[in-house]
Symmetry: C3
Subunit: 672 residues, 3 copies
């Protein structure tokens, strides 16, 4: 557990640097990220590097006892490079170049940019790879930000054809896998295949999915190039990338596989405003963020990081980039910081040391205001630094790795597939995964978020949000885990080629869940369907006596005589029209719809009980997390929360009475 | 009355074909439409045809006793053709080609595509024109789908100039007709005239209207080319096209004039979701469709078909293409089928035999699921096939042509004109025509939908939704019909050149309705105006005592002293400010606004009475239709409906008590 | 005070002209604007002028005793000119030319168009500059209409680089001023700088602001060219331009500086529909327009006109160009006309004499209907002409210039800056300025709207809506005025380069208001914050006892110890969380947020009292204005309004009881 900060020496007079470094150190900051947007200062003229200022900046930081996270500056190629190689610019869906003048104006498939990137990364890595103050590296910055993964350039199309050739070998195999016979879309050679864009009506979904996979692979390839250069010149320094919350146009698992540290940039208020939440939800959590949003991301990146994950950028106050930008409530910067540590973070690094008075982000707060006074966020960071010492003193195991008994499977391809083929306009995969996560968290459960190919042994409950493509070995791994397994609707509904499985959905799951989804329907937002548990003791199906409501989607389920003849399933809940809403076969539970929050929580509570897990009903604003020997409690609500039978002596930080925006940490050997 | 199905042998292993054909026949299907998207299989390589598979498929179907509806495959030109002639692609309003990768990627004005279409149509017609199993033809598929009528290509502009030259002869005539002196838009030659697109603000409305007329004529010309080729090679086989409900970018009457059968593709649930209906209306009829939507289209296409119209594609279950795609209630596929027959259909053909597991429409249900089991829709089709035999046995005249006593005038140019020149953003011609239709249907009336140039003798009530351009002879034909005639607002408000008539609206109508519309206003959605009948006995104009409400539009009416000096009119209803809302002169009724549904129905009920028509108040969910000696009753509602004084012996199908989604057919000689 | 009309002889047969002129004169019209869209008739063939018809038209008007406002026809270059110089077309943000076919299809930076404009303006000015009937000139028509100020053409970019070079001298100075070091956006020469468009995410805000300033300057330069040509050939005739209400893409002050008359085009109903007002507000004032909207614009243009301002185009009935177009209530055309005179207008000129039956604006009413009968608006204009005679007879000073005791500062750059850098999506400068204006008007106050560099002596209350950039000398001018000064939030929040001031906001204001805005937040539309006056006597901060509510924005204020050590401020109102909402230091009042209408009015009432101004509470529908010795009262409401202690003999027009849509004028020496 340690604090960091993002710093831009190039934005400030050199005369301020020493004082900045001194004050950082005094505040309790241990690491400083620099230079990710500094290309135009490092190489102001083609081929002529100006290392002087950067040498001095790093020396100043190192001399103050700070560790530097050095970045490659490839997120912002300078104007002279673009003018020399206009093909660097990505091409939008409208066929036009996305121009210079902000950032991320490069195409992952541009050969010119690949070469230019190799050159600047090598230069930076050679120069600083073995500098004593440089302890870590970051590649580029926020891959995928501003929808920059997918480009429709000739270079991208050319590489896509190669990618297809490598995948399918023959164009006939591709035609079969995609089903291009439909609408006479058959190809006679790979060279006939374009990007799936600007078509008269929707382009072929398998074509679109492969284009998304290809574009994702291009990001991984580009990152890998940078990692290899860094490792060659800076052995032993861990390499990180800062993923951006829910920027899911590429497979974060694949990029993380080449890194040492998966970090992410946590902006709880901006995310609340920009994501799928309804206006009343946005108003409810206006100045705190949604209580499960940062946690969900912590658990996502913890699951893909070899070393403890980091928060590379932590929101320190109001930001500038959401449609509306409220100010965090006093205490929230501290709460968010502790929440990250409670979920396993190795470092929380604030963005940024001081608010810049110019350019696009001049309204983005820092730990200090532009006139160089410590802001609220800075004061709260200082308090966190103090508290870290208390916590580390209280528990030798405070930095322990986390392993939960509940796993939630999270998949990037699922997002792309449902985006391409939603069938209902609001079928939003991250939203549904998040709703399952929040239901588990409202029950007081800690959750590991894992990829579909993760080892599953040891889990007692595994929750699988709608997972269209079920890998061949998943069913066996789930079965051997011994866990209670919950599947969302549409699981197993597609093959990897984006076709309907020959045995109909749930496809491969039929071996353990002998179902046949013979029909589906999507539901518009002003339509819900009543759901009733079969054991609810209610006499009839009146909607007024429903146990809850289904939304968005319904799978129509029947027993599949062909599948696993020996197996059977029980219908545990029904829709008002008698169709099964929730069925179970042994340890496997299948939900035919997406339920309202209360019903989902109630259902997960039952299954957790069957898994032998202890749950507690926390409502929507208090959350518990466990790490090492300590339990962390966070109060996102408007009212104080009182911990139950806690021994006062067990409390490390805070008190039994947790004020709004408050944090309490206690030794977990005392029961709550 | 017979059933058909759409079938894609190219999507399935040849080994399945025989079983498919046998099962179709056993189900009661008599005709099978094939090959409309099969170009890449018919001509996989330029100029080299592969007839073998198609020969065998047709033979298999014929051998099973099925009649084939053979299609030209021009809706999906293959990639090799596009690569050879990129000018085939239509150009969008954004100036960019609409690319290959889905369907309908062709420009009706492309000379290359006209030639290529002639070639493939000739090849197919020569090959199968006299095949004994081929009983009918379909040209292309769903002209106008995905907004493909209007293109902005150089080829289109070139042909537009020729079209203008033919219409106006001299550019001076065009300048006068359009009124280009306004804003210095005058042209010195036809070659100066571009497509009306990408202008700084709205392009000239007369220019836009002529471009729409031209584009529509291009569709008719293209279709005519195909029809002529088919007739030359396949004499005696009726030729159909499958129009798409409310795809009104071209004049369906003009295309139908060259066909034998006007058919349409009926997707009641998709249409409900995609059309103008308010969210609560969409939820109300979620799984049945709007009770008047399919009927309206049946009556539209009946009116333009030389032979009995068909439903070429009937929704058999959930579809994939609407924003949300609910499942039809059990019974709806049967209800929709019978409704088509009740309105005069010769054939109801389901789309499609079996759901495809791949490509864009993999979530579109068929009569069979992808794993080849009969789906709900398939079972209901089988029931319909049985019932057809019962009905045909009960009434020798069951296949009779329909001629109603009420006509509704429906016009495509009116749609374009009001789109171009709405004056109120939600002035939606098909919606208003539909609302008049539904008011008539709620009164139990059968309706013929007719073009503006239809013979009108014999009708007793003629309803004219807002008809901006009144042809010269219409007034005389209406007057000589002897019918009560109801005009919507804005009727007669424009000349054919899209100018205001010299005598102001209602223009030519002034000879029978001596009005002068001296002012108009459009009303935003949150504004209505109270309307009161003058004979309602109410003492004053209080809105709280209104008889109903006006929406969208008001014509301000006064007596026109100049027009038809001998005539006069009575004001039968007024707005709260005293302006006339409904006036009458003899048999001619003029509505100065668009009224709420209840008021429209009440008003039509009065006028029907004056026309000597018997009406019954049916509410919004039960509908009656008459064909031959039989009356068909459909229950779209949630509650059972009981027929009144019906002799039990008169019932042919169903019973007096009609369940939700139920159908009853009875001999009409017994009074309801 | 006199009436005018807009007339298009080229739209009508020459045989009608004489009668038109006679009827205009008889109606009381004195001036007639012509020819602003007549280029294609003046120069039908390149270089060949057809003056005959225009000579005759002017002669006819002059002979009838009418004064002509002659226009340059540059708003509609003819097709032949565009075909010869396609670079005339402006380039949109999508990179495509904005095509011929409507109007304003020219780029202010196009050298070809500048030359062509000089040529046609010279031709027209030479021909008619000294014609006895030509009394005034208008340049072009409605600069900025249809978003035509900003173009992204190569010509515009080229001139932008020159503009930057002139402003910054060196590219280093530009890099510093903009802060291009952020995101490596540094430039090595002016030639590297493009238009700020099509960037991956938002372009640099300082870059965008300079592009907006440049584009605005281009309009001024273009207008100046025309004015100079006119002055050279038509000495002594005042030159006007007709500004369009709230088309604020260019600085109206800068263009007006070169004119004699600032006129504007007043369409109260179209404006209500098209501007920011909420749907219920649009319904509330549907047929009258907002009671303060026309007034606000009158006061804006009065403030920038050397001679008395004009309404060059007055809405005479329903228009065609808003999404919905209602009809004005009877009386409104008269009310609007008198309101203009009451605010200082020299002329009210109706658009247009007769409704055209063709082209884009055929649904735009005129004083006469297309069939040449006088419309309601025509009758009301005749009544106004009569009443003008009464008023002029009653007060020799009726045409007096207006000088109010209250000033509202209105700034165009503020609009652009907040558009570029809103921080909250609905931060809408003209809306907030208008809300301050309407609060003052609801208190019965007359208001001068002034630019930020206006002389301020003599005002007793000065209201400054959010003004991001405070010019160096403003604080001194405000202080020396002796007025009570009210600042909206965000005032002083930016430097002229669009950076945050070194001392934080309110920047330069800190010398009189020793504040430090250490944090800001924007609030989404479903969020408000309670505000309580500190002297309200309420015991606590309960929202239920709030005095009002804050919306959109909050500045977080603290005392700034560094600023003006001797000064201090009082917190007069607070938010529920205790942050200051309204503070005061001497005569300077600072509002930390945008308050609801009632709270704003209450607050302005207190400050007006402190300024020694007498106020009256008028509610939302009655308005008072004073000019010369007369007071004008307007009733926009649904109920009659009775004037208080007015001597009946003092009434010049109307009566003490003012009917809805009524106007009363009385001599002001009697107290209200």
């Amino acid at each position: 557990m340690r604090l960091g900060v993002c710093y831009y020496p190039e934005h400030w007079p050199e005369s301020m640097w020493e004082d900045d470094a001194r004050r950082m150190k005094a505040l309790g900051i241990e690491q400083v990220r620099i230079a990710e947007f500094a290309w135009s200062r490092i190489e102001p003229t083609p081929g002529e590097y100006d290392w002087g200022w950067l040498d001095r900046a790093i020396d100043v930081l190192g001399a103050a006892g700070l560790q530097v996270v050095m970045c490659t500056p490839t997120a912002t190629p300078p104007k002279w490079l673009i003018d020399r190689h206009p093909d660097i610019l990505p091409i939008g869906a409208d066929g036009r170049p996305r121009a210079f003048g902000s950032r991320r104006h490069y195409d992952f498939s541009s050969p010119s940019y690949f070469v230019a990137s190799e050159k600047i990364c090598t230069a930076v890595a050679e120069r600083y790879g073995k500098h004593p103050a440089v302890a870590y590296w970051q590649t580029d910055n926020e891959f995928g930000c501003h929808h920059t993964v997918v480009s429709y350039s000739p270079a991208a199309v050319g590489r896509f054809r190669e990618w297809l050739k490598a995948k399918y070998q023959t164009v006939d195999a591709l035609n079969r896998a995609w089903g291009t016979v439909f609408w006479s879309m058959e190809y006679r050679s790979f060279d006939e295949i374009d990007a799936p864009v600007a078509t008269v009506t929707e382009a072929h979904p398998s074509h679109r999915l492969d284009y998304r996979r290809f574009a994702s692979d291009e990001v991984a390839r580009y990152n890998r190039m940078q990692v290899e250069i860094i490792r060659a010149h800076s052995p032993g320094r861990p390499v990180a990338h800062n993923f951006m919350q829910l920027f899911t146009e590429f497979d974060h698992y694949k990029v993380a596989a080449d890194l040492d540290v998966a970090s992410w940039d946590s902006y709880p208020l901006g995310a609340l405003e920009e994501q799928w939440f309804a206006p009343d939800v946005k108003a409810r959590w206006l100045r705190s963020g949604h209580p499960d949003f940062a946690s969900f991301n912590h658990d996502v990146y913890r699951g893909m990081s070899k070393l403890p994950f980091w928060v590379m950028e932590q929101q320190p106050g109001p930001v500038n980039w959401a449609l509306w930008n409220p100010a965090p409530l006093p205490g929230m910067v501290r709460l968010w910081s502790w929440e990250a540590f409670a979920h396993g973070a190795g470092c929380v690094s604030y963005f940024r040391w001081r608010q810049a008075p110019f350019a696009q982000e001049q309204m983005h707060a820092g730990l200090n205001t532009p006139d160089n006074r410590l802001d609220v966020g800075g004061n709260e960071a200082a308090r966190v630094a103090d508290e870290i010492r208390t916590v580390l003193a209280a528990d030798a195991d405070a930095n322990a790795a986390i392993r939960s008994t509940v796993a939630l499977v999270y998949d990037y391809e699922a997002k792309w597939l449902f985006e391409i083929h939603p069938q209902g306009a609001d079928f939003h995969y991250p939203r549904f995964a998040f709703e399952y996560y929040t239901a588990l968290r409202a029950l007081g459960l800690d959750v590991d978020v894992v990829p579909v190919d993760a080892p599953l042994d040891g889990y007692r409950m595994i929750v699988v949000p709608p997972l269209p493509v079920v890998p061949d070995d998943l069913v066996a791994r789930l079965a051997s885990s011994g866990a209670q397994v919950v599947f969302g609707p549409r699981t197993g509904s597609k093959t990897a080629d984006l076709q309907i499985p020959a045995n109909l959905p749930p496809g491969a799951l039929a071996s353990v869940l002998p179902l046949r989804v013979w029909r589906v329907e999507s539901m518009r937002p002003n339509v819900t369907e009543a759901v009733r548990f079969n054991d609810s003791g209610k006499a009839n199906h009146e909607a007024s006596r429903a146990d809850g409501f289904a939304r968005h989607w319904r799978d129509f389920i029947e027993a599949d005589a062909d599948a696993n003849a020996g197996a059977s399933f029980d219908v545990l809940a029904q829709f008002a029209d008698g169709q099964p809403a929730y069925v179970r076969s042994g340890a496997f539970h299948y939900l035919a719809s997406l339920f309202d929050d209360a019903l989902t929580t109630r259902l997960f509570s039952r299954i957790a009980q069957q898994a032998g897990l202890e749950t507690m009903w926390l409502g929507d604003s208090v959350r518990f997390s466990r790490r090492g020997a300590l339990t962390y409690v966070f109060n996102y609500g408007d009212d104080a929360y009182t911990l139950g039978d806690i021994d006062e002596h067990s409390i490390v930080v805070g008190s039994r009475e947790i004020e709004p925006q408050g944090v309490t940490v206690y030794r977990s050997n005392v029961k709550t």
